[in-house]
Symmetry: D2
Subunit: 343 residues, 4 copies
Amino acid sequence: MLVVMQEGAPETQVQAVIDRLVSLGFTIHRSTGVRHTILGGVGPRDEFDPLDFEMMQGVKEAHRIVSPYKLANRTFKPEGTVIEVNGVRFGSNELVVMAGPCSVEGERQIQVAAAQVAACGARVLRGGAFKPRSSPYSFQGLAEEGLRLLRAAADAHGLLVISEVMDRSQLPLMLPYVDILQVGARNMQNFSLLKDLGEVRKPVLLKRGLAATLEDLLLSAEYLLSGGNYEVLLCERGIRTFETATRNTMDLSAIPVLQKLSHLPVVADPSHGTGRRDLVAPMARASVAAGAHALLIEVHPDPPAAFSDGPQSLFPDQFADLMAQLRIIAGAVGMTMAQGKGA
Amino acid sequence: MLVVMQEGAPETQVQAVIDRLVSLGFTIHRSTGVRHTILGGVGPRDEFDPLDFEMMQGVKEAHRIVSPYKLANRTFKPEGTVIEVNGVRFGSNELVVMAGPCSVEGERQIQVAAAQVAACGARVLRGGAFKPRSSPYSFQGLAEEGLRLLRAAADAHGLLVISEVMDRSQLPLMLPYVDILQVGARNMQNFSLLKDLGEVRKPVLLKRGLAATLEDLLLSAEYLLSGGNYEVLLCERGIRTFETATRNTMDLSAIPVLQKLSHLPVVADPSHGTGRRDLVAPMARASVAAGAHALLIEVHPDPPAAFSDGPQSLFPDQFADLMAQLRIIAGAVGMTMAQGKGA
Amino acid sequence: MLVVMQEGAPETQVQAVIDRLVSLGFTIHRSTGVRHTILGGVGPRDEFDPLDFEMMQGVKEAHRIVSPYKLANRTFKPEGTVIEVNGVRFGSNELVVMAGPCSVEGERQIQVAAAQVAACGARVLRGGAFKPRSSPYSFQGLAEEGLRLLRAAADAHGLLVISEVMDRSQLPLMLPYVDILQVGARNMQNFSLLKDLGEVRKPVLLKRGLAATLEDLLLSAEYLLSGGNYEVLLCERGIRTFETATRNTMDLSAIPVLQKLSHLPVVADPSHGTGRRDLVAPMARASVAAGAHALLIEVHPDPPAAFSDGPQSLFPDQFADLMAQLRIIAGAVGMTMAQGKGA
Amino acid sequence: MLVVMQEGAPETQVQAVIDRLVSLGFTIHRSTGVRHTILGGVGPRDEFDPLDFEMMQGVKEAHRIVSPYKLANRTFKPEGTVIEVNGVRFGSNELVVMAGPCSVEGERQIQVAAAQVAACGARVLRGGAFKPRSSPYSFQGLAEEGLRLLRAAADAHGLLVISEVMDRSQLPLMLPYVDILQVGARNMQNFSLLKDLGEVRKPVLLKRGLAATLEDLLLSAEYLLSGGNYEVLLCERGIRTFETATRNTMDLSAIPVLQKLSHLPVVADPSHGTGRRDLVAPMARASVAAGAHALLIEVHPDPPAAFSDGPQSLFPDQFADLMAQLRIIAGAVGMTMAQGKGA
């Protein structure tokens, strides 16, 4: 903790801050300048809130020195984490594409979708069985039936399965069917759910909340890691800004920043990041150019007929074209990408 | 649904939109202008996503006509909802103040806090037993022991109890002890929790998420109402903006806007809304001047020693001074306020 | 400047930072902790960019100790600045209301407006003669004729005049007519204009930009002060956020924060802060409750017929009702307000 | 203009809206539904503010049908605008890179910079002679001497010149030296300056303001176009959001959105867009992948010694590496890029 005293703060106020730091176990380094006294507190822990000190008499400002997240920090594993799931490696130089519809709607739809995305080189099939919807009147998902259909379609085409979990009660249903559990943006700070998932031994893809700073995202990842689940994928999917031309503003600089701050693999979701089909391909390409380890893309056999997220789902032929472009861009940044079975 | 076609959109494209609207049960009103064709679709339901139409060929833009929330809408109950809990009336011309520490820390702390806030005119005691914390390493609350102490302190001073619930599993523990359940900002779109609380028959205070529009907040309220729980309090507690001088930016215009859009009572939380003790009193006064029905304020017998939220907790004498000011301001906007027992 | 080195940063990197700080004239205070080395640089000036240091090898983070603004800083004049203009005192315990139409539209309109606002207790007449409009096709103002009409209307009713200046070329025209020059939000960082106004000897009301932090606003004020113009009024008028229910989000906490950071008087503009007439009164009341020294409010004799800003202009009778409420609220925070001539 | 009446709005209110629309020259198309009456107003002009109607009794909401910008609209020139300056073509399939230091600091610095960027394939040399700085105490530029040095360096290496103009008084000085005039983000809505530049016959690069929507940006471009200057380059350079890990959040989706809304070429500035050197290359690559026509990048022969923007300036060898990557990515999106003279 660094505490900067106000100009002319009397010695009694300086001493009060020192006393408090000492009582919390900090060793104090004091620098007395012409105008400001600076206190550097070095301690065994640093999860104290700088505001606790800024509210003290005579304090100008306080800063935390040590990051509040430890296990998610790059310094914990400088070489980076590679998460391998049945031969698919996240965090390596292999670009992984996860694709499929927003929701599982029926057997035929998900089988067709799986065939299409596998043919283009996707390695993981996405599809929601439990849907978090802003409106209680919207389609809420097929639940276990959806999971069963999703697994069958993935198996038929050599794909892994990723699907969203919304609360603890869904876990027993989901674990037999899915390879990767997804936590949605609106649950990024559902700390009860994060604690539950810390005890699970399956990879978790954690989406950044709409108003979450990157530090917030890494603190949520810390919940999972400190619970014992080390397989966490961080996912940028757009934040809320004043711009209304897009549903969200995709923060692509989050990709290199997260890779600097953390050792965990970074995924980009250009579908939710933009909310509009015509922007998905440009943002998917940009994500790879910015260094993303993996992409999560909504593709539907017939987007206008989709039960949910139709406007942001790619048509299958758009997805095929995009994958060809991504292969070239991946090469420019030292990544490789699986060939599609249909290629 | 209103659909505006692009200039020069050919008749086949106009017809495709009409066909889709008809297939969804809409009756069509068509206006053909010099430059634009406009289609007004009037239907039994309007929870369709305008983007579904904006992605169609030849469509310039689409707008929803009917609000996506029904039961939370002002038109559902134009005279406004008054929620009465043991004689305390939210949504009336009686300004209700809820106050107390962030967390219940022990018997003496909560008893002293209850005595202090009751003496100043507060009607409800706040105190957390389960704490949602950004960091897994922070204090997580006393759980049931905290609830027991909170209830005892409130009963000893004639106060109601409000406390936060984070997931379904805590409900059986909480229901015997609390009068009002609080949903935190980070859980505002935890739809699983909202469904569970829709089945409860206790009032719920629903905090606005940090990136939630007022429409999002009302849609989350709609989850509770459509589940059968009609006693919902809406709470403004600050949103995320670019300004860093305050932890959040309290959006006070949300108070009159919510009162126009909805019949539900509106609460302001200036403690979380600012994150800094020195701003709590100005923002509490401003909230009442803007028309809030109730306030939620953190007060601690000894803020520097608080386990959580110390920097934003008022000292008891600051709270007493504030309550005197609020009484005058309430009068200016046609509200009244309970006299404190210590007055 | 405070520089925190990364864990394990080698001595050569520490030395490079020290060398750079020394070359810039800083005296160094070094604290070597178990994990981090901290360098406190105390120097004669502190306008260096912390990022210059954060980009150096081995640096974890850097913070500025001294505020980048000096003359606008509260410490420069701890007792606060009172700006007196012909008997009207900004920054005192007298609440000053400035009111009138967005634009001067003609003689009758501005005379009627002046009479109405004077009767209710306003002390300053507002009215634009040069209008900054987002669209080049919108009404651009009456220019000098507008200024002449504005001055005549103000003089006839014992009011001061405030009007907006957009560039240097307008100054010779404006100076004979206005008492206070207004800089609009979109020009807050038009540094050429700020330099010109630093040389003027008339008070300047400086509006906060839509994306300006409070530090940005104070740095823009510093341009005026360092140019020799000490009469600066700071004005909160709403910032851009994701919320779309209001045109802007009025940041009322800016009022107490600015009063803490600076000695300059603080004005609130609830008309632009909300953009909607029905929100102006609640936000005006809230601004006074939060401690504003003055208000700037758009009032028009016939808002639906206004050439600009009609939707956010009050009807005269709404303004009269509001002024009565403000008088009570001012009393609650130790302020007084002029009686209207019509009272 | 589309006006949706509230449920149950009486006929008198509907008629008042119709009367107002008719008085403004609109032809009315009325649709009367079960719950809502919708009025479609088709008129010769559509620069009316929807809020003017939303404030009327009985109106639920109003929407503008026609875009408020005409000449900047894609429909005005569907095939897109190519701006050719001495053989460099903006808006074509040729990716143009503009590079150089933030400020011209001296002859040797700018000559070296020009040689370096030309060798790597840049076509335009950037360098500021007049600097808009947040603090009045920061370096303000070399003025005419800077322009002279910049022109000489560009000519010596076959480059064009781009430099920023801050106000009208600088124009006579600048026009003989520069090929492209740049308007900074903080002046995007300095309408006086925009009017002056509308009369100039040199291309203008217009940067998006930190809180400007894409519609705002296009309206500012409309000022230039409607003044008669048709050579406008639109530039994304980051917006203000809540995220603090980067100075700004670069909104890359703005690139494809602007290309859809407008016919003008789109430039990306990853240096200001991120504010941090280590993010410039990822965001430059991402900008090209997203479809940018041109890039504006800060490169300095010795960034740590730069007078301004050192932390976001690339080292020359970083720039060389980046240009090699950009050449590959350009190919993936159907663009080509000039070979460097040093290649």
